[in-house]
Subunit: 405 residues, 2 copies
């Protein structure tokens, strides 16, 4: 069956049926008045839920809490704050996270185990529980609350990041919504990214785990702003089943449409994060074709998009393509110089390892656009991947050298 | 036997007996007039020689030449140019490298196989052979030429980097000299580092290979400026035996003194490179103790010193220590949060994973010094390592975004 896909204008995390959200200015970000810094996402019915977490060995208290609760494969709500990461905060941090879950559960008639917690912000500082307690009481949930939630989780982000897509397959119709934050590892620093995804589709937990892993591998796992990894990263998906479809499992009629839609939402949000990188003025998209394997294509693409020298050259619109070749050369991926093709935009700069003459001024213009696309063909196999990042600007350094002082 | 070690004031690559060097302004760096860009290092007698090379899959033509010639374990001279890396230049690049070796060999009555070649500079551009041919003819060798050679290999380096140490053990006396360049991967970009080492000690080739590997592992392999790896990196050592000692082999009386001295020269030069990082105003030294193994200590130290967020925080004298903990957490090394101790300078900021109160203004002063020392104890084992790097400044970005345009 053909799937009809529709982007929902102004869609977001509360676009799928049965999800509500609310936020408040609790006062966690002391240095800015009247800024949203606390939010709750809630589903009218319990959800099948799973998440992927930071691989950092130092994990913030809310990460540990979510890992514990999600063993059940279920959740109903998540409370999130920005301005303080609640990381490196020891026993007190764990107690504070638990209290946040308990307060939300009490207000909503849930068990604390049904409530997930996420925090993003400075690490090594205790949560200001007084304002958080008061804040949680103030939150009013609404079916349009998704947009506010997108703002409440922002740190150095300059724009909220949301997306929703509705899919029709025969008689079935479901929606996937998503919200993300991420811009570097700063202001409330070390909080590289959070992403919450919702859907009204009914989905088997095992399929949901697999689908999330697949979608993240080709989206958030291929974004680099500065190579630093947070102690607080979470990508969470909650499926409440209100679409009343037969629960999706591998091979079921909706499986492919669900995966494709989830991929689209995640890639869109991932590109939003790359584009909004701290101090960035350009989105950089690196596609590697012809790698010996997909894994190697991903590694090569990620290495190039992470290279500070490539990023700085793009910032200056400098067609210094040797840096791209050098970055792929050090990526660990098999590269044979005499086989490599390199394109920037539509222009071929290197063919079979041989530099070609090019119009320098034209190339400067290509590099000055808001999206710079680089394509490498290693001509060694069928592995393909695309990664996203941003240019490296003086402003990135300024932002990141002047936080806590 | 006790070893007496003496740093040679104004010592360098030609301090060991029998080495001479000379340079010229060949005109390879067209944009700057009268700047040294070509040099030759020569030993009066053939040397036992070995080198370590970039691990980049894309290797410049001179790297391929040196790898081929050094299979013999012998060399007599090296010719080096800055301003052009002769990388990604295909067959022509290989032919140009060979011609450089042939021209030097002819002028000195050597075989081309005795002459090594190194290049550093922009990649993807052919060597300007006309000026190089003329330049090679102009070079006049002298026993004091080492200092000029230190300048001729500079690219964005702001200071020449040289060192020599003389060692006396009983009746034996030998000297190790060294010169290095490296400051990022720019101006003549992609040329992260070159290092040439000379000694008048007689050394067995197998021991020399081992000793060089050991010294590089604790020096240049623990320096990070921006994480990018060049297509042209070479660390070369030439031993001409004019000290007339019994050739040093593992376990021989001079072996330990030789290794220690080589380590010292390499560490000194590595620190010079870190301190002279593009746009840098501080040397950052990260020591990791208590790692499960030395390899893990090195990985942890290198990860912290490479973190753009740690580097930016140091640049702004911002005591944002959470970034250090987060960097070690993502390094891949075993870390148990509740065991970690963190010191900046002499001040303990985290003890057994617990943040301690500290004098913020005092810490800003510690972070404003020209050398910032950070020490982590993972308290898990006996692995120890020290890595060096520099702060990340706006100027780094400016330098690297405005090269070829």
């Amino acid at each position: 069956m053909e799937a009809e896909i529709e982007f929902i204008a102004s869609g977001g995390i509360t676009s799928p049926r049965g999800f509500r959200a609310g936020t408040t200015c609790a006062g966690i970000k002391k240095e800015v008045k009247d800024i949203l810094d606390l939010g709750i996402l809630f589903s009218e019915v319990p959800c099948v839920a799973t998440a992927l977490f930071t691989t950092n060995r130092i994990k913030a208290a809310p990460v540990l809490w979510c890992q514990q609760q999600l063993k059940s494969g279920r959740a109903t709500a998540i409370v999130v704050n920005s301005g303080c990461a609640n990381a490196c905060t020891g026993e007190q941090g764990l107690a504070d996270t638990k209290e946040m879950a308990e307060l939300v559960a009490k207000g909503m008639g849930l068990s604390p185990e049904d409530v997930l917690v996420a925090s993003t912000g400075v690490i090594g500082q205790p949560l200001p529980m007084k304002v958080i307690r008061a804040g949680i009481e103030q939150v009013v949930l609404s079916p349009d609350g998704g947009h506010e939630l997108a703002r409440a989780i922002m740190t150095t982000d300059t724009i909220p990041k949301e997306r929703a897509i509705t899919v029709r397959v025969g008689e079935s119709q479901f929606t996937i919504g998503g919200v993300a934050k991420g811009s570097g590892m700063i202001h409330p620093n070390l909080a590289t990214m959070l992403c919450f995804l919702t859907t009204d589709a009914a989905v088997d937990i095992d399929f949901l785990k697999l689908a999330l892993k697949k979608a993240v591998d080709i989206s958030f796992n291929l974004v680099s702003i500065d190579g630093d990894t947070s102690t607080n990263d979470i990508v969470l998906i909650m499926a409440n089943g209100l679409a009343e479809n037969k629960p999706i499992s591998p091979g079921s009629p909706l499986a492919e449409a669900f995966q494709q839609t989830l991929d689209q939402v995640c890639i869109y949000l991932a590109k939003c994060i790359a584009r909004d990188g701290e101090g960035a003025s350009r989105l950089i998209e690196i596609t590697v074709n012809g790698a010996p394997s997909v894994a190697e294509a991903r590694l090569a693409a990620r290495t190039v998009v992470s290279s500070p020298l490539v990023k700085a050259a793009v910032h200056g619109s400098d067609p210094n393509w040797g840096r791209i070749i050098a970055a792929v050369g050090r990526s660990g991926v098999e590269v044979i110089e005499s086989k490599v093709d390199l394109y920037i935009g539509q222009v071929c700069l290197v063919k079979a390892g041989k530099p070609l003459p090019f119009d320098r001024q034209g190339m400067v213009q290509v590099l000055s656009k808001s999206e710079v696309c680089v394509s490498l063909n290693l001509n060694l196999g069928n592995g393909t991947a695309t990664a996203w990042g941003c240019d490296l600007s003086e402003e990135y350094v300024t932002i990141n050298s002047q936080y806590t002082t």
